[in-house]
C-alpha cells in the first residue's frame, strides 16, 4: 500500500541522492554507496550515511550537503546519522557510478573486494581510462584522496587516478 509516509520517504531519498561527493563531483552519494538509508519518523527525516574511509573528511561535507538539500526541498527537520557497519566497500558502487568515473578520467574499482590475501600479493592490471590500455603501472598506492591510487599509462603516457578496491 502506498501511504503518505512511503511517498515522502521516496521523495526524501530522491533529494538526498542528488548530493555529490565534494572531491569527485560526478558521483552522487547514491552512486558511491555512501547513502545507506532514508526513513521518516513523524516529521523528521533520518538519513544514514557510511564513510568510505574511517578518516574521510568528505563525510562532514556530505552531511552538511544532505541537510541543506533536504531543508531546501521543504523538509524542516533533518537528522543525519553515520554508521560504520556494515563497512563500506567499493562493491556497492553502482555500474552507472563506475561509468561516470571512467568518463571523468578515474579508473573505477576493477575487482571485487577480497580481504585476507597473503601478505605479498599479486595485482590485476588496471585499465587506462583514456586509451583503454592495460599496460599501466602504479606510481603510488595512496593518491590525492584516501580512496584513490596514482597510476600512469605506458601506452598513452598519461597519469591517472584509480579508485582503489576496498
Amino acid at each position: 500500500m502506498v501511504t503518505k509516509t512511503t511517498t515522502r520517504r521516496a521523495h526524501a531519498w530522491a533529494i538526498a541522492a542528488t548530493v555529490t561527493d565534494p572531491e569527485i563531483p560526478v558521483l552522487t552519494i547514491e552512486d558511491l554507496g555512501v547513502l545507506r538509508d532514508v526513513t521518516i519518523d513523524h516529521d523528521t527525516v533520518i538519513v544514514t550515511l557510511t564513510p568510505t574511509y574511517s578518516g574521510c573528511p568528505a563525510l562532514d561535507a556530505m552531511r552538511d550537503d544532505v541537510t541543506l538539500a533536504l531543508t531546501a526541498a521543504g523538509f524542516d527537520d533533518v537528522e543525519v546519522r553515520t554508521t560504520l557497519s556494515p563497512a563500506w566497500t567499493t562493491d556497492w558502487m553502482t555500474d552507472a557510478g563506475k561509468q561516470k568515473l571512467r568518463e571523468y578520467g578515474i579508473a573505477p574499482p576493477h575487482a571485487r573486494a577480497a580481504l585476507g590475501q597473503g601478505p605479498i600479493r599479486l595485482r590485476l592490471a588496471v585499465k587506462c581510462p583514456r586509451c583503454g590500455s592495460l599496460d599501466t603501472r602504479e606510481i603510488a598506492r595512496f593518491g590525492s584522496t584516501s580512496c584513490k591510487a596514482l597510476f600512469e599509462c605506458r601506452a598513452c603516457l598519461e597519469p591517472f587516478d584509480h579508485f582503489k578496491v576496498l
Partner: protein
C-alpha cells in the same frame, strides 16, 4: 576534530543488529570496555600523530601523501574508539585526545617510538600494521557491537597499511647496501617493543568475548612476519623484550614531547574550532 560540529555517532547496523537498537541508539560503553577502547584508540591516535610528522619530510612526494593518508585512516579509528570510550563518563573525543596527561594514556610503546629515519618508520609500520590486522580480524566477532563495527571498517584500511609497509620492507631490504643496513638496524630497534602488544593484562580477563585476547594474536602476526622476512632475507632480531607499560600509563620517554606538540594548541585555546 572540531569542537563546533556534532560528533559522528557510532551506531550499529539496523538490519543485522536490530536487538541493539531497542533502547537508545547511541551505544554506551561500560568503564571496563571504555578502558579497552582507550588502549586501541590511543595506539591509533599516537601512531597517527607520529606519521603526520612525515608530511613534507618523506623521501619522495608520493610518500608524504601515503603516510598522510595512513595517518588519516588511523585518526578515523582513534576518533571512533575515543568517542566510544568517552560515552562511559561523558567525555568527548577531544577531551580525551587533548586534555589527558601522559599517565592517563594507554598506548603501547611501539607506537611511541620516534619516527627515526625512513627505515625505522617502515619497521614500526610493518609491526604495527601486522598487529592491527590480527587485532581487528579477531575483534570483528566481538560481542560488543560498536567494537565489532569499528574493527570491520578498520580492517580493510589496515590491510592497505600492511601492504604499504611490506612493499617498502622488501624494497629497502633488497635495495642498496645502505638501505639494507638501515632496514636491518630498524627491525632490531623496534623489536623489543613487539612483545608488549601481545601481553594479556588483567583487564582482558574481564572482557571475555568482547576484547581480542592479545596472546592469541601472536601466531598470526608471526606467520606474516616470517613470510615477509623470508622474502626480504631478514632475520628476527635476537634482542630481549622491553618492559613496556603503556597499558598501565607508563610511557616511553619520547611520549611527553609528542603529547606536548599534539595538545598545545587545544590547551592554549580551549574550545577553539577551525
Amino acid at each position: 576534530m572540531t569542537a563546533s560540529r556534532p560528533l559522528p555517532h557510532v551506531t550499529v547496523d539496523e538490519v543485522e543488529l536490530a536487538a541493539e537498537l531497542t533502547g537508545d541508539t547511541d551505544a554506551t560503553a561500560t568503564s571496563t570496555v571504555a578502558e579497552y577502547a582507550l588502549w586501541l584508540g590511543d595506539d591509533a591516535l599516537i601512531l597517527s600523530q607520529q606519521l603526520g610528522g612525515w608530511i613534507a619530510h618523506a623521501p619522495e612526494l608520493e610518500e608524504d601523501v601515503a603516510l598522510g593518508n595512513i595517518a588519516l585512516d588511523l585518526l578515523g579509528h582513534a576518533r571512533s574508539l575515543l568517542h566510544y570510550a568517552g560515552t562511559a563518563d561523558g567525555r568527548s573525543e577531544d577531551d580525551l585526545a587533548y586534555f589527558r596527561d601522559e599517565s592517563d594514556f594507554r598506548s603501547a610503546w611501539l607506537f611511541e617510538q620516534p619516527n627515526g629515519d625512513f627505515a625505522q618508520t617502515i619497521a614500526r609500520q610493518l609491526t604495527a600494521s601486522a598487529y592491527m590486522f590480527e587485532l581487528y580480524s579477531a575483534l570483528r566477532t566481538s560481542t560488543d557491537a560498536t567494537l565489532a563495527a569499528v574493527a570491520e571498517k578498520a580492517l580493510k584500511e589496515v590491510d592497505y597499511h600492511r601492504d604499504h609497509a611490506v612493499q617498502w620492507t622488501l624494497r629497502l631490504a633488497g635495495g642498496t647496501e645502505e638501505s639494507r643496513r638501515r632496514m636491518i638496524r630498524a627491525v632490531r630497534d623496534v623489536w623489543p617493543y613487539v612483545a608488549e602488544l601481545f601481553r594479556d593484562e588483567p583487564l582482558i580477563d574481564e572482557l571475555d568475548g568482547i576484547a581480542a585476547r592479545p596472546s592469541t594474536l601472536r601466531a598470526g602476526f608471526d606467520a606474516v612476519i616470517a613470510a615477509v622476512f623470508t622474502e626480504a632475507e631478514l632475520d628476527i632480531p635476537d634482542v630481549s623484550a622491553s618492559s613496556g607499560g603503556g597499558r598501565r600509563g607508563r610511557h616511553f620517554p619520547a611520549m611527553g614531547h609528542l603529547l606536548a606538540e599534539m595538545q598545545v594548541l587545544a590547551r592554549q585555546h580551549p574550545g577553539a574550532s577551525w
